[in-house]
Structure formats: C-alpha cells, structure tokens
C-alpha cells in the first residue's frame, strides 16, 4: 500500500488532492492520512504547512499594511528533493 502511494507520487503528472489519491487507491481519506504520516516519519515524503508565512521574523512587521500571515491554505505532501521523477 505504501509502495503504491510512492508510485502515485513518482508517476504524477500534475498536483492532485488527498481525496483524489484516496479514490485512486480505493482507501478512506482518513486511513490515507495515517499512511502518509508513516511515510513522512520515514523521510520518504515531506509534509509542508502552506500559506503560513512566519511574519515574526519580518523586520517590516510593525509597519506592514497587509499581513498575509495566518492564511489557512492547507497542507501538502511531496517527495523530498532529488526523489522526483527524473531527479
């Protein structure tokens, strides 16, 4: 099952969402999250929270008119560098 997930990542030709991956593998999205967590723990995938720019480090923070920090844009799982197709 985990090997099948890795295969989907390596052979993907465009981004897809977790529900689509669950459909392709015929598993429940909840179960898939556990499998992805295992692959992340093993270092085979990276998990990245997106849309959460850390404004605490920004020197312009106090004068920044338009903070985008805190935007909830979800989470992605991706292959670590050098492991993608052709990489």
């Amino acid at each position: 099952m985990l090997a099948e997930i890795m295969k989907q990542f390596r052979e993907a030709d465009e981004p897809f969402d977790l529900n689509e991956l669950a459909r392709r593998l015929d598993v429940a999205p909840g179960a898939l999250e556990g499998m992805l967590a295992t692959l992340v723990r093993q270092g085979k995938l990276r998990e990245v929270e997106i849309g959460s720019a850390d404004c605490r480090e920004c020197r312009s923070r106090l004068s920044c008119a338009h903070l985008a920090g805190g935007a909830a844009l979800g989470k992605v799982y991706e292959l670590p560098p050098g492991q993608h197709r052709g990489g």
Partner: protein, 438 residues
C-alpha cells in the same frame, strides 16, 4: 566472534536480504504489510453502499476544482470581489473626502503660511488622501478573509497550481503568489517552504508582479477619477494582468534562467466551513490597523519630505530630469515621475504624492479635474500609469526580503531591472497601441 556480535551480523544480513529482494527497508515493509492486511480485512468485512456517499464538500469541489470550470470560476469570484468592494465603499470614501475638505479649508488659513501649507497640503492632502481609501481596504480584506475562512482560497491556489504545472512550473508557486494579493513580503517569505532552489528562486522573482494591497489605493484613486462606471472592472484587470504576467515570466525564467526538474505534490485541502464573524473581524482588524499605522509612519514621513521639497522648489527639477523616460508611455510629466520615485518606499505613497502635489483636489472628481486639466491625462494614460505602478520596481521592504531570501544582490538588482523594464514596456505598449484606437 561473540554470540552478541553474531546476532547483530545475522540481523544486518537479513535486513540487507530484505532490501535486495523487496527493494525497501524493513520498517517500510512491515508498515506496508500492516496496511495491506488492514486494507484486505476491510474489504472482506465491510460492505460499502452501491452508490458512494457524496458529501456537500464533494459536490462543491466538483465545480470548484473542475479542470475546465475552476479557473473561470476563480476569475469570476475575483471580479465579484472588486465589484462588491467598489460599489459599497464609494459613498464612504465620498464621506471621508468631504470631511477632509472641511478640515483642509481652515488649516490652509493658519499662519505662518508654511505651517498652513504643511497642514493643508502635506498632512491633510497627502496622508489624508491615503487614509480616505480605508473603506476599500476594509471591504477587500473582509471579502478575502471570507474566501480564506470558507476554504475557497486554498482551492483557488490548487486550481491555479494545476495550470502552472501544465506549463512546466512547480505547482506550489501559486500559493506564494496568492499570498502576494495581501503583501509581497510574507509572500516572498512563504516561498521558503519550496525545497527546490530553482522553483524557489523563480517564485521569489515573480511574486512582486502580484498586485498587493498597497497598490489598491492607487488603482482606486485613478479608477475613481477616470473610469467611474467601470472601477471594479478596471481594478480587476490590474489584478488579472499581474497574474498572467507572473505566470508568463515564471515560465520564461524557468526555461531560460534556472532550468530544472519540478516536484509533484498532493494537497490536503481544508474542509469548507462557514466563516465566523470573530475570525473575519480579527483578520480585517489586524490588516486594516497595520494600514493605518503605516500611513501614520512611513507614508507620513515620505509626505513630509515631498511637501518640504516641493515647498522649497527642488522637487520639480528632480521630476523634470526623470520625466522624459516615461514620455513614450504617456505620463512624461514631473508629478507622476516624483510619485513613482517615492512609490518605491511604499506604493501608497503614490497617492500621498498626488494628494500633496494637487492639494485641494479631494475626491475622485477633484483628482480627475487636476490630472486631466493640469497634466492632460486621459483614461488611456491613467490605465497605462496604473499598469506601471502594478509592475515597476517593488517597494523597499520587498526588495529587502528578496535580498535576504535569495542571499544575493545579483537577484535583487535583477528584480529591480526586470520589473522596471517590464512595467515601462507594458505601459508604453498600452499607451501607443491604445492611441491608434482612441
């Protein structure tokens, strides 16, 4: 060899054997076998309904994430956001401008004359002109916060990512770009999570092309003055031009400057939910208050400098030295040249500069009269100037973060150069081609 060493040797040989036979490490094989067993067991004992249950999220995502409908829907929603923002804010802005007019008249009469001029032309005319656009900023952030909190913004980024992947770009770039609708500084910072150095660099280079909130008062001022009936549409066009050029430039940079292989990803989209008043209010308050404090700090100081340089007669000569560069784009007068120079400090300063230089011209009609009467501007010139403001050199805060994130002066100077050339070229093309028809 001791029995202890013997056990370890047998363990290592077994692990190596498993790796050779199955092509994977033991931990993965055990986890894989467990998941395989669970999956098999579930198939044996669980009877699924003949027709899979379709949730509300599935139904909505059927449209929102649709390959063909997703992008037009995103553009339509963006257009609706601007229509809403401008329609609702117009009377509020008029109210603020009326108040500013009432303040400016007695302030101008204060003696000595320089103090009256500083208060009326500099502070009320300059800073007031920027603050008058607070209703637009508030309403835009209310709309964007609602889109964000409902979970739609994440889906818009995902849909655009798919398009970018099609033309050979790293999908996750668009997430940073969509943050650029707020401010380029955190948007550039968010590119840190892109692991591939080439993808990260391209994302950083094109992020300033996205129309940040600081440019919005400039658009609002000029759209209100020259495109009264089509303000929302014109501002939407600015955002759309930014998105299209960011995608095109990213493609070009990826091909020519930093080629390389892009990665693939799976996105876990947040569930749809009703936005709460407290969450939206918190977002809007945080962002709007920052806008006000910025007007009271960097823009206030910039306007004071502009007023002083103008009062003592040095501003015009500087403007006249630079202005001919912009002649082919239609705005080769010293006032817009000065506005663009100070606009590099912060884009709202363009409005503050016009407010100071055209003191007394309050409100859309006042600025329309001043810009068309004194500078001979037409709607075509205003549109070309707005495009220049959208594309030319990013503000100093953005340049600072580009230097920090790329660790290179080379890419920072490159950003200054390419955005200026791009802005000038697009503005000139719009003006010159437009003149053939208008």
């Amino acid at each position: 060899m001791s029995p202890h060493e013997d056990i370890l040797r047998v363990r290592d040989e077994s692990l190596e054997h498993l790796r050779k036979v199955h092509g994977d490490d033991a931990e993965t094989l055990i986890a894989d076998a467990r998941y395989g067993f669970i999956s098999g067991l579930m198939k044996d004992v669980l009877t699924k309904p003949a027709v899979a249950r379709v949730t509300a999220t599935d139904r909505i995502d059927g449209f929102v994430l649709n390959r063909w409908l997703g992008i037009p829907l995103f553009l339509l929603i963006l257009y609706a956001v601007f229509q809403f923002t401008f329609a609702v804010s117009a009377p509020l802005i008029d109210l603020i401008n009326t108040g500013l007019d009432k303040l400016a008249a007695p302030a101008a009469g204060i003696t000595p004359g320089w103090l009256g001029s500083l208060l009326a032309d500099g502070i009320i005319g300059g800073v007031g002109a920027v603050l008058a656009f607070i209703p637009i900023i508030l309403l835009l952030y209310i709309a964007l916060s609602i889109l964000e909190d409902t979970g739609y913004l994440a889906r818009a980024a995902f849909v655009m990512d798919r398009l970018m992947h099609k033309i050979g770009l790293h999908g996750r770039s668009f997430v940073s770009l969509i943050l650029g609708f707020g401010c380029s500084v955190p948007a550039v910072m968010s590119a840190r999570t892109i692991e591939n150095p080439s993808d990260r660099l391209v994302t950083i280079l094109v992020t300033p092309l996205m129309s940040c909130g600081a440019r919005l008062p400039v658009y609002a001022l000029l759209a209100g003055a020259f495109f009264t009936a089509y303000q929302g549409l014109v501002v939407f066009a600015m955002y759309a031009i930014g998105v299209v050029l960011a995608i095109l430039l990213a493609w070009l940079f990826r091909k020519r400057l930093v080629p390389g292989e892009s990665g693939h990803f799976v996105m876990e989209l947040p569930p749809y939910r009703l936005p709460t008043i407290t969450s939206v209010a918190a977002h809007v308050w945080e962002r709007s208050w920052a806008f006000i404090s910025r007007a009271g700090s960097i823009i206030f100081v910039a306007v004071l400098v502009i007023w002083a340089m103008n009062y003592f007669g040095v501003l015009e000569s500087i403007g006249r030295a630079v202005a001919p560069v912009f002649g082919p784009a239609g705005f080769g007068q010293w006032q817009p040249a000065i506005a663009m120079i100070f606009g590099v400090l912060a884009k709202e300063t363009v409005v503050g500069t016009f407010g100071t230089l055209f003191a007394g011209a309050e409100g859309s009609s006042g600025f329309a009269a001043a810009l068309s009467g004194q500078l001979g501007w037409t709607p075509l010139v205003a549109f070309a100037f707005m495009t220049m403001i959208l594309l030319y050199i990013p503000c100093v805060a953005t340049l600072g973060i580009i230097k920090k994130e790329t660790g290179s002066w080379k890419w920072t100077v490159f950003t200054i150069a390419y955005t200026f050339v791009l802005g000038w070229t697009v503005a000139t093309l719009i003006y010159q081609i437009g003149r053939l028809f208008i």
